[in-house]
């Protein structure tokens, strides 16, 4: 009777369920964390990125040794205690009144800080029982999705972002110092008496960073008021690689074509690329215009450096961290 084949189905079931239960227990026991989502690292990385970005953007940093300290760590790079990029006009107080406004010198110095100092000062590591494991990180300042350059080096720190890993990312909007700018009224500009359409500026180098020249209230005297070229010490600069010209018409920027007419309400703007005024000497920058005249004659020509102000542009600071 026991050999009745009907019963085997039940035995199969018994065998099956015991096998299954054994397999299940095996899996549960040998893969810890299987039934708990996420690992502890993931959540903490979001806030590691958050804190790093907060310190970089909202804090001017700190340096100190036994005798003195301050926020001007960019000038005391041997004793950096904390890295922060916010510009600060009073280096003795700990905070800045201009969060989100980044100092160029601080960014330059941060690029030169060595890897281990950077990781340690920004807290980009995990401390497991006293042993340090540094996180992978990538810090960049971008405009229109391209890294900003500073002295011809892109502002980009850390490693390339792995695509096979979860990356915690935070983006902050900041203002970065791009270079210097000077705004002129047309009647302030000086000319050589013989060439009334070509104002000349004396520019004293070295000036690194971008240079923005802005001229308003132009005096139109002919039928084809237009821009011809920029000359540096008698040598023509190239539109494109050396500079870009624009006119500002009612608040909108329009590229300044050589044939395009300039109205007297327009503001003419030149962006001169970094590296043109690199040497320590005085350059003569000549702006060749047509049918636009100036009255004040030199030499001495107008000193560009007396008019300069730092100029900033919005950019994105991105911090990415991974395990």
């Amino acid at each position: 009777m026991m050999m009745d084949e009907d019963g085997q189905i039940s035995l199969d079931f018994l065998l099956g369920i015991s096998l299954f239960l054994i397999a299940l227990m095996f899996i549960v026991q040998f893969i810890p964390g299987l039934f708990i989502p996420g690992t502890s690292g993931e959540g903490s990385l979001d806030y590691t990125a958050y804190r790093t970005a907060t310190i970089l953007v909202e804090d001017p940093g700190w340096w100190g040794n036994s005798t003195s300290s301050g926020t001007d760590w960019e000038e005391n790079t041997d004793n950096i205690l904390r890295l922060g990029l916010a510009a600060d006009d009073d280096s003795s107080s700990k905070l800045t009144n201009t969060p989100n406004l980044l100092s160029k010198q601080k960014i330059t110095q941060m690029m030169m800080v060595n890897e281990s100092t950077l990781v340690e000062r920004l807290g980009l590591y995990n401390n497991v029982d006293g042993t340090l494991f540094s996180y992978g990180y990538n810090i960049s300042i971008t405009q229109n999705d391209t890294p900003q350059s500073l002295n011809n080096t892109p502002i980009l720190l850390g490693e390339t972002i792995p695509y096979d890993r979860d990356v915690s990312k935070i983006t902050r909007i900041v203002l970065v110092e791009k270079g210097v700018e000077a705004q002129f009224e047309a009647d302030e500009l000086t000319i050589n008496a013989s060439e009334v359409e070509d104002p000349i500026l004396n520019v004293t180098g070295p000036l690194n960073g971008e240079i923005k020249v802005q001229i308003s209230n132009l005096n139109i005297t002919g039928v084809d008021p237009s821009f011809k070229r920029l000359m540096l010490d008698g040598v023509q600069l190239n539109e494109g690689p050396d500079y870009i010209s624009h006119k500002l018409v009612n608040g909108t920027m329009i590229p300044l074509e050589p044939t395009g007419k300039i109205n007297n309400s327009d503001i003419v703007i030149f962006y001169i690329e970094p590296g043109i005024f690199n040497d320590t000497r005085t350059y003569e920058l000549e702006i060749d215009l047509k049918d636009i005249t100036f009255t004040k004659s030199g030499p001495p020509f107008l000193d560009f450096n007396q008019y300069i102000k730092t100029f900033y542009e919005p950019a994105y600071l991105t911090v990415e961290v991974w395990n």
Partner: protein, 147 residues
Amino acid sequence: MKRFFKDEEGVSIMVEYVLLSLIAILFLMIISINSDAIFIENANDVVIENQFSDVGNMMSTMITDMYVILPANGKIEIDYTIPAKAGKDDYIINADIAMSDQIIEVISLTSGKKVRVTIGGIANTMPINGTASSSASKHVISYDSRR
């Protein structure tokens, strides 16, 4: 009665029942012996680690955010809430080693398990110290420039 012993109709059911019960009992025994390890300890460990790192990150983030607005003369006080237990452990938050190591530690009182969270260089400028126990009824971080 004789008929009762001779009748073999129910045997296979009987055997099946016995076997099934045996397996079920065996399974129950294994589970009950290991249940603590499988379902509580492992899970507890992961939960503790998650919670500790959460709490540690909360402290560190709060201190960072607080630091960037510290008044030159004045004070800040922040009330915060943390879970009284992580998993089934009481724990303490220890910030006393922040000055030297730039870390905040969250330690379990029962198992000694700990998670450390970094604070990016703030402790150099602002002295950070103190411990907080999860079972306390009120938790405050305070900073006073005049002390």
